[in-house]
Symmetry: C2
Subunit: 408 residues, 2 copies
Amino acid sequence: MAPKRTTVRDLRRQNRSTLLSTLFFDGPLSRYELSRRSGLSAATVSNVTGELVDDGLVVEAGSVDSDGGRPRVLLRVNPAFGHVVGVDVGETGIKVELFDLSLTQLAAFDRPLSPSSPTAVASLIAAAVRDVVDSAGVPASTVLGVGIGVPGTVEQGTTAVVHAPTIGWDGVRLEELVASASESAWPLYVENGAKTQGQAEMWFGAGRGARHVVIALIGSGVGAAVVTDGGVYRGATSSAGEWGHTTIVYGGRPCRCGALGCLEAYVGAEGILDRYRKARGRELAAGDEQSTVAALIDSASRSKTAARVLEETAGYLGAGIANLVNLFNPERIVLGGWAGLALGSHQLDRIVAATRAHALRHPYEQISIELGRLGPDAVAVGAATLPVAALLDRAADPRKPAPRVDIA
Amino acid sequence: MAPKRTTVRDLRRQNRSTLLSTLFFDGPLSRYELSRRSGLSAATVSNVTGELVDDGLVVEAGSVDSDGGRPRVLLRVNPAFGHVVGVDVGETGIKVELFDLSLTQLAAFDRPLSPSSPTAVASLIAAAVRDVVDSAGVPASTVLGVGIGVPGTVEQGTTAVVHAPTIGWDGVRLEELVASASESAWPLYVENGAKTQGQAEMWFGAGRGARHVVIALIGSGVGAAVVTDGGVYRGATSSAGEWGHTTIVYGGRPCRCGALGCLEAYVGAEGILDRYRKARGRELAAGDEQSTVAALIDSASRSKTAARVLEETAGYLGAGIANLVNLFNPERIVLGGWAGLALGSHQLDRIVAATRAHALRHPYEQISIELGRLGPDAVAVGAATLPVAALLDRAADPRKPAPRVDIA
DNA sequence: GACCTTAGTTTGCGACTTAAAATTAGCCTA
DNA sequence: TAGGCTAATTTTAAGTCGCAAACTAAGGTC
């Protein structure tokens, strides 16, 4: 069912999509340059871009004068063509952000979230989306879609089914709930937050330009977004990339997922702190996880115990990364998530060394390990990316509104 | 560079490829049925298949009478259109097999292989290929290509570079060596043996019909072929799927790759035997690995130690499989390789239970775990599959001989 | 102001798929 | 043995598409 190119019109759609995507990611570009990059003839580029301009998707953006000869007119995606909303459903609150097509933020709302029923959360989302759109004074009709990142696995079927144990969701059809809670019929895209954050790193962060990347995300939980051949890898039911619950110490520490020896139990924030607690033999000062980890890292220069725990953490993490390297053979590893960034900026050498020790030589030699550039607030941008990807993918074909499209 | 559909001719090529592949995998089929499956109009199917018949790629194969009305004429790929050769370079010998286009074996040669230089092996391969083609009386010109499966990682670049520590190869450009050792200019396709074996399971074995599969191969070494979206996953430099050197016991048993705690050190044949040896506290009876493992499994009903070692093996293996499930979210796991089949047929329940214990619930619920159906001799068929895949992929476009194509 | 250079457009054509009409190719009935 | 009927292919007549080549636009140089 997948490779069903058939009519000659699909060709056009494909070329529209290619040109639009090129403009989006590498724009502004002249028609001439587009022709060079896409391999399409100048005639076709002219023809297709003309259509895109007529449709309002693309606008001219000044010109660059050549030394002798007609100056090139630059084209770029029209940021005002439409708007997208990104929602980050976190464990303690939701963030809703409105963007224009160039993913420039126009408005943002934060709402605290006390543990409540999925239906209540859905209503909250629907209301917040409506509010953020209204507050920015954006006409509802220009909203192209709403992307929602959630903290759990999302099975993509006819409708997305969310399993998020940390907030007590099991088999929640979030898409349907939000749709029925909101009066607007904006297309909804529900996706795992790690995947949306990964997509954000790919589009705007440390993943740019690469086609095979693993974005490792470490916070309270541990996850990964695996990008293969330029697209987020989903697997059969879209729950791929559950790196955190990969066994790294057979029979080791119990994990909150119920299994023993998961990577998350060693390098997740809670796992690190708990190991430190045990090593010191007494409780830590109270405080939220994030600042406690920061304090731990800070104390490493003074406390031998802290230093050792962090050293061990780097070892486990390196082994975990090496597993990704051996299995996926990426060209780049991006280390993200708040704890990942904290660990990475103080221990990167050690992490890299541990990775080298555990990975096979040849796949190891392909990779570079980098820190993420976006931070955990990228979940919302990443979610907003989903409707944009859908737009680029179907090239906003005016003839076929395409209710639902997988992102690229 | 990937999604470059441009001209209207690519469309035709694509449709040729689709129809030819459908006939190859699901044939024989009538034009009518082809039209139904491909979504192409009857006119186009008629047109394209006519071309394929003219080119000799497809032949009519009887007809099926309908109840009143013109009977459907069945079409199938012409097995005699060409021939392909599959080579299995093992650690102790090479197998060379000749097939027709339907992958029916026409001739086979085995050659023992004493450790020798890559150049010598290349000459041996070239000579054996020539011999097998001659012995079957097949005209050299009908040989469409030669696939070579090797026991090590293969970096696919402009030319394949082989790293096979077990036979002492490091950075061997096998393709070039074989090409210069043989007088025929048949296209060569070099690939990791685990991947070719996996491809064979996908085409003819336990993987049929699924799109996301992991074929786990356990013998002396441990590897995996990961199939995502119907195609063998390669990663950035084609060395993905090195499951055996994934860390499963951080700081555990030393592995021959130099790292500690690799899965292979626990569930590879040598790892199993060594653990048994240590558990018994004395040496085992001499014998080759394969029969020793068989004896160990056989003795499990009498020896508590043997039973315990196997039980532990199932545990490690289950955890390893669970890692694949969590990371790749496949719909099917195929357990293969001689040791994998041996373990699987005596311990499948235990392995499945251990997998369930370590995998997340939702991805776990998607999978079925099955035994491979082909055995390790499938490496050669799998290798022969490579030139066939190339043929199907470019649909044997008469205008463009396509020197080198990635397999589907 | 004549002439060159480069960017973008038009025009004419060959290739492609499709829907609809026309043609087979068997089977059945009288 | 001739109609008649049904259903699979083929043919025919559009309608699209991308491309090469010819052409126009816009800016320099001398």
